[in-house]
């Protein structure tokens, strides 16, 4: 096994453990957010191994930086106590949903083997700033510009929601 493959499996294990830690930690919301940071940084390392360098940098900056800081800010602003969530009232639909999605995942992983096409070699400069920027501003310029409307709508919505009371 090459060093790169070893690093991929190492970061994959770290990402899965950190995601499980985030979901299963029912005591402390801040610890959940920290586990989310670990999962996102491991995924960023996997992006580097898949030669998506710009996406890896943005993953670290936007996800592990901005988004998780926003979560931590809200958790600390609301000052949540850890023991305010008693056992859920109706458990049966949730357990049914977990079993069903676990079975779906199992079938998906079984069917995955040997169905994907062959991998082509990456050209020079793949995943760097130059190639991605060129693609973003020539072929994909319309979705890129549409994103600005989305951000504008999100800003207006967030300000109005946080300002007024609903009732």
């Amino acid at each position: 096994m090459s060093t790169g493959a070893f690093l991929f499996y190492l970061f994959a294990a770290v990402a899965i453990l950190a995601s499980l830690g985030m979901v299963l930690n029912i005591r402390n919301t801040v610890a959940s957010a920290m586990s989310l940071v670990v999962a996102m940084i491991s995924l960023g390392a996997i992006y580097v191994l898949l030669e998506a360098y710009l996406v890896a940098a943005i993953q670290i900056m936007v996800y592990a930086g901005a988004i998780v800081v926003l979560f931590l800010f809200v958790v600390m602003l609301l000052n949540l106590r850890s023991d305010v969530f008693p056992v859920a009232r109706s458990r049966l639909p949730k357990i049914f949903g977990i079993v069903l999605s676990g079975w779906g995942l199992f079938v998906f992983l079984r069917l995955l083997r040997g169905t994907l096409p062959a991998v082509s070699p990456a050209p020079e400069g793949y995943g760097g700033f130059r190639e991605l920027g060129k693609a973003l501003f020539t072929r994909y310029v319309l979705p890129f510009e549409a994103t600005s409307f989305l951000l504008l709508a999100a800003i207006v919505g967030a300000v109005i929601l946080a300002k007024r009371r609903i009732d």
């Binding site: 790169g4 493959a5 990402a15 995601s19 985030m22 979901v23 029912i26 919301t29 957010a33 989310l36 999962a39 995924l43 996997i46 992006y47 898949l50 030669e51 998506a52 710009l54 996406v55 943005i58 993953q59 936007v62 996800y63 988004i67 979560f71 809200v74 958790v75 602003l77 609301l78 969530f85 949730k94 949903g97 977990i98 999605s101 995955l112 083997r113 040997g114 994907l116 991998v119 793949y126 995943g127 693609a135 973003l136 072929r139 994909y140 979705p143 890129f144 994103t147 989305l150 951000l151 709508a153 999100a154 919505g157 967030a158 300000v159 109005i160 929601l161 946080a162 007024r164 009371r165």
Partner: protein
């Protein structure tokens, strides 16, 4: 490519499943939003893997779009959470039944 594409997609599917479990079972709204972020991250991983397999930057461009959508979603979602907390004094999803009949 360092590892087979199947392994990348399998990792993505497993992380997506963990996100689904979190979104379905937890009662804290903030943790549910975090689980949704985890699912979006799993989708990003699949997109990056396919982009690398076909050596096509289009997948990476759409990862940037997904990251933008996630940031917008978190801003609006946390605005709703703050507004909810002001009105109900709780972030428990089982106490929020405004749209239930």
């Amino acid at each position: 490519m360092l590892v087979p594409l199947e392994h990348v997609i399998a990792l993505s599917a497993v992380i997506f499943g963990i996100g689904v479990i979190g979104a379905v079972t937890r009662r804290n709204v903030i943790v549910i939003l975090m689980s949704i972020e985890l699912m979006l991250n799993a989708v990003n991983l699949a997109l990056v893997g396919f982009a690398r397999a076909w050596a096509n930057p289009g997948g990476q461009v759409f990862v940037l779009m997904v990251i933008t959508v996630a940031a917008a979603e978190v801003a609006v979602g946390l605005g709703i959470v703050i507004s909810l907390f002001r009105n109900r004094d709780s972030v428990d999803v089982e106490e929020v039944s405004l749209l239930k009949w």
